[in-house]
């Protein structure tokens, strides 16, 4: 194993549902800023995090249009994390579980996302310094 640090994170929660998503993305952001090589294995609802058709919306209750609402979109966070890792000399290999994608019709993802299987998670974990699994409870 080289000196460069490599970590793997697997996540299960879909977007807009649980604080676990924010914590997971915070962890990935820290590793990305350090220039680590990161593998993310997103399965079940988490394959929706990078769904390309997430759309900002207005908030009629608060009288704000879409621009004023500035609705946060996880797909933008994922794309940003990929850029951050690259800009710091590392990488973020984001793998969406292919079966989970097909079940949910989530095949349109932001650039940089690839399909994979649990075998990819096993390979990434085997090659990593550390692995964290954040399951839905």
């Amino acid at each position: 194993m080289s000196d460069k640090k490599k970590i793997t994170v697997s996540i299960m929660d879909g977007p807009f549902e649980n604080a676990r998503t924010v914590t997971a993305l915070r962890l990935i952001d820290i590793a990305a800023r350090r220039g680590y090589d990161i593998t993310v294995f997103a399965y079940e609802g988490a394959v929706s995090l990078a769904f390309a058709k997430q759309t900002p919306h207005a908030n009629a209750v608060h009288g704000r249009d879409a621009a004023e609402e500035d609705h946060p979109l996880p797909r933008e966070w994922v794309a940003s994390l990929i850029q951050t890792a690259s800009a710091n000399g590392g990488s973020l290999d984001w793998i969406n579980c292919g079966l989970c994608v097909d079940e949910r019709g989530m095949s349109e993802a932001v650039p940089g996302i690839r399909r994979g299987s649990p075998a990819d998670l096993w390979k990434a974990a085997d090659a990593s310094d550390g692995t964290l699994t954040i399951g839905t409870r």
Binding site: A19, Y36, G130, L132, T133, G135
Partner: protein, 108 residues
């Protein structure tokens, strides 16, 4: 001696899962391992001096490092002066440190 880091995310007033985390952390510490419990999200409610924090204080006295995510504390308006003795605020970077060092990091 192995390094274990448990990440606890649930409010102890809402779920009894945290008791299992504490029990396992204590057992590992008594077996001679280096153990850290990192409280994040609503689990930091248990870091305040309260009926729920006595178990954490006991673990700290036994040598388990108990840390509370600074961001989660700030989100919930919990000042570090309100924390139970032996519990310290810490940045999430520590979890990434432990992952990169090959520690066993467990989201419990």
């Amino acid at each position: 001696m192995a390094q274990y880091t448990f990440i606890a995310s649930r409010d102890p007033f809402e779920s009894r899962e945290s008791e299992h985390t504490m029990s396992l952390a204590g057992d590992l510490r008594r077996s001679g391992h280096e153990v850290t419990v990192y409280l994040v999200q609503n689990a930091v409610f248990g870091a305040r001096k309260s009926s729920a924090s006595s178990g954490l204080a006991k673990l700290a006295r036994e040598g388990v490092r108990i840390l509370a995510d600074s961001f989660s504390l700030k989100e919930r308006g919990i000042d570090h002066l309100r924390l139970e003795a032996g519990i310290e605020p810490a940045e999430l970077d520590l979890v990434v440190d432990h992952l990169a060092e090959g520690g066993r990091v467990i989201w419990h």
